[in-house]
Symmetry: D2
Subunit: 419 residues, 4 copies
């Protein structure tokens, strides 16, 4: 049972028609919106199809993927049912495998590869030096070299499978006032990243990601967009800032940061998710859907103004209490919804109200777009490309989870000992 | 020009019909919803029709009301155009006037009086003792007595005009660690409030309001719902907690506080507004409309469970950059919208998902209600009770603001000297 | 090398004497302070002697304790070198062992047992039912029964080893709006806790702990002191609230919460630590030492006013980048320092300034106490009870860590797979 | 009565000697520290000597200054008693006066003039165009021109009285999502500021100040250090960022921002104050003295590394419940204390611990400096330059407030009507 009206194709087409009439009254052509919806895509993170956890516990789900090939199978389900997630973003070392095998598997499933993600926030088994006290900004040159090397390896793997970007997030920071010199630590980070940047192919982009705190709890090297901007500026034209919606201080106006980075040519893309407290990694749009809309309002606005504007769309979430496939499908659709609602904003009217300082009507112009229930457009776009009107319902009917649970052995809980 | 489709009655009825068909598929009868919409009301604050300001400046608007009778005229416009604001909440001493004259004016305008509001956070001209260092919690017994007396006077005025509640918000607190003894200050507050409570008529309710900070910047006597609950518990069965949406610490889950206060029988009502940073007093639903919906989700849920549940609905906003009448109309409609969307939640399905820990479908159950564009219901309910399909457009056409601007002399800016 | 002057006994006595002269000028007798210092104690958590981690990684240290007996050895080192940590707080199931063996080991080491801690925030191996969707508040009666049973077992173990209190912290909450009914979830929690309370021996206390977020990221059942107070009130006279300094919303005035709980007879005790962002579990006093002092200012103030006032002092920290023994020693001394500085406050002068609203001098009264460097008193008190002037330096000289590292096999990293 | 030991010169010299012996054991020469203390200075804001207020009320004090000449008299008292505040920072238009008269008055009082402050956050009487919807970023070119003109006038006045810097803080922003285009608004700001910059004398510096919120409550043009850095970078080498300690998002690591701005050559200086919630403008060091110390730790560290490093030290506070002169004296001494404590940090040892990732000892190195009670050094430095051992006590004895209260008529309360 689903709470949305179980809407057959006939009902869907009636709803679409009724919406089309309303939009036509505003001068909006519904077919053009449907084409935008159909063309929209967001990358799924390979790590997102496993069940997440916290430092207190991880409660495994049934049929969790054992390796990258299982993960790709899960991602393909998401792509097939929603039609909105054509690519997968890999995380090294967890997703390391023979590149040819990866390419072939992805081709079979109709998937592509999005940005590569390196990991220097935990120690891999057998790794010679530890990242306990940092990686790219570590005080020991050898640790930094190891971290640089790892990032270069991620690029090499990415090249072999057709990726065009590297995302670097480090947990480096400190837990005590005085533990690290802010300045020397950042100098070391910049020097190491310059070596990574030097290894970047010409047609690649480098995304650096800022985050206020966690796993470091007093200071973090790339703590906010200001530092992130400095990095992108220091490194060069292929370096851009990645915005994760959950990585900011309380109350921060994220959509404004997005606008600033666009204005100064350094917005690289997003890790979409939602948060109420910290880096909660909740499902996109689940806690503050209007904020997600306001972010897309900036993106759609920039589309028409900024040459070569093509920010990367990626999901980054931790699914602790849901079936990860269901959460990723729902999130992809929420992101698409925000994009489509933002596409409905009457930008000419908005600019007029802004120029006249008619704050109330400017605000209502955004609200009118946000309030529009565009689900009929999204659903019909899905249907027409062979995906599902109601992907979650279709997934539940399919029995996929039970099937893989039978094939894939259960995974242990993990991390129960940290308090 | 308005950004929403300029929707005539014919279009509105078509939209209403199309929505009715969709809702019927979910088993929801649209006429019942329209009746709920028609019956909903929220009080307008008398101080809300003037232009607000900050400690840095106040930028007056045209035609600001000179006194309570002007304010009632403005409130009547809001009530007439929206059909959603039948009552006005007065603030003493600013709104002091002959009770008979107030009653007569209100009767002429078809308005009633909601909760009375006392003021001990600033010194009135000619007031013998200053509230600089507190009022109901002041270390000096005489200052406390003066503050108690003022509250009793507010009750007396309220009785004379038909009000049934007193709202008490104090700015008492401290600006330095050590300035006040938390304990003795709260003891004094409770003792003084017990005297106010003793003066409350049998059929009145007493609302106390908590706030984290401002105007006190280190500690505030009634700083959060925990302290507010203690107050209501100490005072007695006619004492209840008032929740202002902008008075909480960053990231706090306000809808959960609402649920707790309902559960323990102490939710009195609301000061609706929105905020991003502090007590921003922005228009309700303008920054986080989903949060407003989640608050109403608790209220509608309690309707069916809790005997005699009738929380007070009041707006408390500061209109610094808009025409206050427009902001109050828009806010009243946003509040009504959240109420109606919350009424759409399939509570039986929701309870089922909650019991089964189907977090995804439970969340989608709320989202399905929130995403429903109920504007046709709200607009038709307005039309049928003689109000306007589009109140802001009608107000602008009416020329009301220009008319009163010609009658009411301009007011000085105020407070420009505080940095 | 240590950064503090390497102070021999002769220098220490000179510093003590100079401080004594200064304090005498303020009418303070230094010997009385030294006796207070000597009598002060704070409990060490058994889990604190292992290296902590985050959801991203855990970087093990050398010589980590393998079981509760190793942990007790480490705790004994802390107690012997600082003279400030006479007791240990156990966590079940991790510390389960034969009670007689525990008692004997503790007796040999001169240690006692503080509050017992239950764990229903992760699944223990072999546990029949999962806490994935909650424990004491779970929608399934059987899961709640299992969680109650576990708490009763903790009491039984505690009785066998001489503990007198049970601390209950649950991670129960939700990750999505709608996932749980706030009201029914809390009703279930209260019902389950009433069963735990019923099993409490007459001379025991029950401590419940509130926390804003993590591991639940949309709502938490015991989210703040308001809810915690309701719990203690509902359960009965042996139920008290535990305050963890890192479990509050940003900007919250924690010392005021402490004062409120004292005033209403429900302050049970503390989990001391420090935090900058969330539940960072940093070393006590490392980020905001003045806040720690202000908390103790309330405690010392209550000592003289409140009959039978004896809040529990416990440390709860996660040591991710330091030797846990060093962090715990330093933290215990910071807590003792705050206590002693708070003991220096001239309470009569303070009350006078408060009554006269002399905010500046009231604030300076606290600052005068906080600024006093009481290290000579603390160090001499340590020396006189057979502990060390500089415990960290003595610990490093002792070679203890190297010795246990040789005896205890290395532990795997853990939790590296959660992103 | 003062809470600090009433310390005569004899006692002071004994305390100084005892401290000198302790410092000598750490290899620190106390006389050098005293010379640093004697050389330290911080500017007093002209607006700080009046009583501040909030949007709710202003409670005037006795003997408030009527104009800039009264203000200079008050500032001279602060300078004379503390020996730490040689300069005054003016705010235009409030402090407009004949430059020759200003120079002469200041010379008589032994005062100099620090940075000029412009005001475009409120409308001055008679001002042709309103700043209600912004100033330097206003959508109307004429309003921007007026704001530019005002800033150029501030420079002209400053040149005439010997100032060498202009501080620009604007309240520009928006109260509603959609009210302003983030991008166009910032473009307009940059264009206007370029005109101000063009008018800057060669030996002047331009300080721009960021602030998260208030008076704008949805977005602020210069919202954080990231945007502030972009401004300084766009404008040129004479443009620098000003850091006000109360203008950041909750939990933000301010000392790290200071380090970043130093590293990239754009730290201009400070508006010192303290805050717990927002821009509380509390007395420096009154709420979080360790944070103030950590900021100075960065400044003292940079002294030795960065050529031509001379950040501006200014106080910016609102004194609502204290005598402003007492608060400013106390704050100046707190700032000096933090500076001196930061000067005590053993930087060589610290760097060693940082390189070895000895987090505990690195942290203790800072704490050892912070814990040192340097009051004897500060007091003796004051005494030797003709100021007071205890400036607040001396001020109270002097009867200055009563004297000016008799001369200066009482000022009305102000701003009581804004709720």
């Amino acid at each position: 049972m689903t709470v949305q009206e179980t809407r057959g194709e006939a009902e869907l087409r009636r709803d679409y028609e009724a919406l089309g009439e309303r939009l036509a009254r505003r001068g909006v052509e519904i077919e053009a919106l449907k084409r935008r919806a159909a063309a929209f895509g967001v990358a799924v993170p390979s790590w997102g199809v496993g069940t997440g956890g916290t430092r207190f516990a991880r409660f495994p789900g049934a049929g969790e993927p054992r390796h990258i090939f299982d993960k790709l199978d899960d991602c393909a389900v998401i792509a097939r049912l929603t039609g909105a997630t054509p690519t997968v973003s890999l995380h090294i070392p967890w997703d390391k495998a023979d590149p040819a095998a990866l390419r072939q598997k992805a081709a079979e499933l109709g998937l592509g590869f999005d940005a590569m993600n390196s990991n220097t926030f935990s120690d891999a088994p057998g790794q010679p030096l530890s990242y306990k006290f940092g990686s790219l900004s570590h005080s020991d040159r050898q640790v930094r070299a190891q971290a640089v090397e790892h990032n270069l390896e991620c690029i090499a793997i990415g090249e072999a499978i057709g990726s065009k970007a590297l995302t670097v997030w480090v947990g480096d920071g400190s837990n005590f006032p005085g533990q690290s010199s802010f300045t020397r630590q950042f100098e070391r980070y910049l020097e190491a990243m310059a070596q990574v940047y030097a290894g970047l192919p010409d047609d690649w982009r480098l995304f650096t990601e800022h985050k206020m705190f966690e796993p470091a709890f007093y200071s973090t090297v790339v703590q906010d967009w200001g530092t992130n901007y400095l990095i992108a500026q220091e490194l060069g034209p292929k370096a851009f800032c990645l915005v994760d919606l959950g990585h900011h201080a309380p109350n921060v106006n994220i959509e404004m940061i997005v606008a600033r980075l666009i204005q100064f040519g350094k917005l690289g893309g997003f890790h979409f998710n939602d948060s109420k407290y910290g880096d909660d990694d909740l499902d996109a749009g689940s806690v503050d859907p209007f904020r997600l809309f306001l972010v897309f309002n900036e993106l759609v606005d920039a589309e028409g103004r900024v040459d070569g504007f093509h920010p990367a769309h990626m999901i980054d979430q931790s699914h602790n209490v849901t079936d990860p496939i269901e959460s990723l499908m729902t999130s992809a659709m929420e992101i698409e919804r925000a994009y489509l609602q933002a596409s409905l904003v009457d930008r000419q009217a908005l600019a007029g109200y802004q120029d006249e300082n008619d704050a109330l009507m400017a605000a209502q112009t955004l609200k009118a777009a946000f309030r529009t229930d565009v689900e009929p457009i999204l659903a019909l776009a899905r249907l027409e490309k062979g995906a599902e009107i109601d992907p979650v319902a279709a997934y539940r009917r399919s029995g996929y989870r039970a099937k893989v649970a039978a094939e894939r052995p259960a995974v242990a809980g993990g991390s129960g000992g940290i308090v």
